[in-house]
């Protein structure tokens, strides 16, 4: 049994949905991709650009994000922002998360007794 492999697989699964929640949460203000990567990293959440960029695009196609090119600067940048639907989704998923994580933490603290 390869412990490391199983652990990294499980952690990946745990992170996947949580990252979406965080991305939605951080995009209440318009940001461009790399900006968000750095911001999340500052808070100890490591996310690769190659995960985040396609993810934001997917969320946009789902109607949760909207984007706009800013060509005023030297480099053209694509800014993403939460839509109204996205806000509703964020609110609901956040509620679920709070409820879920509280219960999970409580159970984990009890040590499985």
């Amino acid at each position: 049994m390869n412990v490391d492999e199983i652990v990294s697989g499980l952690v990946l699964e745990l992170r996947r949905g949580t990252l979406i929640l965080l991305v939605l949460n951080q995009l209440q203000e318009p940001k461009y991709g790399y900006n968000l990567v750095k911001e999340l990293q500052e808070h100890g959440i490591s996310i690769e650009a190659n995960t985040l960029y396609p993810l934001m695009r997917r969320l946009e196609s789902q109607g949760l994000l909207t984007s706009e090119w800013d060509t005023a600067e030297a480099k053209p940048r694509k800014y993403y922002k939460l839509t109204t639907d996205g806000e509703i989704v964020l609110k609901k998923v956040k509620e679920n998360w709070n409820c879920f994580s509280a219960s999970v933490n409580q159970l984990l603290d009890e040590g499985g007794c």
Binding site: Y32, G33, Y34, N50, Y53, P54, K78, K92
Partner: protein
């Protein structure tokens, strides 16, 4: 600052993406790579090695493309249907094999004298192979269609949308649908390979088939459609597991189409075996004229039975749907 390697990299990632997004993704990646290089090198001009490091961090073009392409429509039959698909596939293949074997044995018994055993086995094996391939193709196409439909229907997947658990009497029993599928497959196989199985006893020491073997073999496509409709109906029942609107509508449509097939097939004047008709009328001369008449019109009698069964199925399904699903 255009870099050849970066350009090639971006082209490799975006070339297979949909046309609409290609340009946009390319632009975005270009800025991203510039940002990453700037972070790595500051104001110093990045070397080829720096570019390679940054690109390695982003992953191979194929990996990045996969991320952009997403895992949406990457499979013909997704996890929602996969288990049912496997189940139905096994069922259909088993029934097809059983039906073929029965049909082959019966036809061996009927044409006993002229048969060479190894030819019969070889023939059986050939039919098993082509039958299995057709069955596999049909079931796969059916489920691929379901998968396709489901994707276009199911865009929001909130937790609130989950349907309630059906009560026991609302459920369609799995046994019922399995039986239905099995009957459809066996019916098709037997009728196609060995219509002689519908032999009306022995008249004057000879087994005389009711239906004309040639006509049945030449109208195989009607039988195939008839069975395919039956299987589709049962698979939808199996997938939904209760009398949903979808089950109701599928049942109505497939029943009506089946009725059309039945009428089309059985109003063919040549479908009866002329030898059978004449033997029957000679057998029941005089007092038995009525019975002879019944047998002579067996095709219409047969048609009536099938149409009645289809009508009954429609009525029962609509009633059950109205009882269990309407207003919920």
């Amino acid at each position: 600052m255009k870099n050849d390697l970066v350009e090639r990299y971006i082209y490799a990632v975006t070339k297979k993406l949909p046309y609409k997004t290609r340009e946009d993704v390319a632009q975005e990646l270009e800025t991203l790579i510039e940002d990453m290089l700037k972070e790595r090198c500051g104001d110093i001009t990045p070397t080829e090695k720096d570019v390679k490091v940054v690109l390695t961090e982003l992953g191979t073009p194929t990996e990045l493309y996969e991320q952009y392409a997403g895992d949406g429509k990457k499979c013909l039959i997704g996890p929602n249907y996969y288990h049912t698909y496997l189940f139905v596939l096994k069922l259909v293949l088993i029934c097809e094999a059983v039906g073929l074997t029965i049909a082959q044995i019966v036809s061996a018994v009927v044409n006993g004298q002229e048969l060479i055993w190894y030819m019969a086995i070889w023939q059986w094996f050939g039919m098993l192979l082509s039958g299995s391939i057709s069955a596999f193709g049909f079931v796969t196409a059916l489920f691929a269609f379901f998968e396709y439909k489901e994707i276009s229907l199911d865009t929001n997947s909130g937790f609130e949308d989950l349907p309630p658990v059906p009560k026991k009497e609302e459920r369609i029993s799995k046994g019922e649908t399995i039986f239905g599928i099995a009957i459809s497959v066996i019916f098709l196989v037997v009728f196609l390979i060995c219509p002689e199985i519908f032999t009306c006893g022995v008249i004057d020491g000879k087994m005389i088939p009711i239906f004309s073997t040639e006509v049945i073999k030449s109208t195989w496509y009607i039988l195939f459609v008839f069975s395919a409709l039956g299987i589709t109906r049962d698979v939808v029942k199996l997938v939904d597991g209760k009398y949903t609107k979808r089950v109701m509508l599928t049942t109505l449509v497939t029943d009506i189409l089946s009725a059309v097939c039945t009428v089309w097939w059985l109003t063919n004047k040549n479908i009866m075996n002329p030898e059978f008709t004449s033997s029957v009328s000679s057998l029941f001369e005089g007092d038995g004229a009525f019975i002879a008449n019944v047998f002579a019109n067996f095709q219409y009698f047969f048609m009536g039975v099938i149409l009645f069964a289809l009508l009954l199925d429609c009525v029962i399904t609509v009633i059950k749907w109205a009882k269990y699903s309407v207003g919920k």
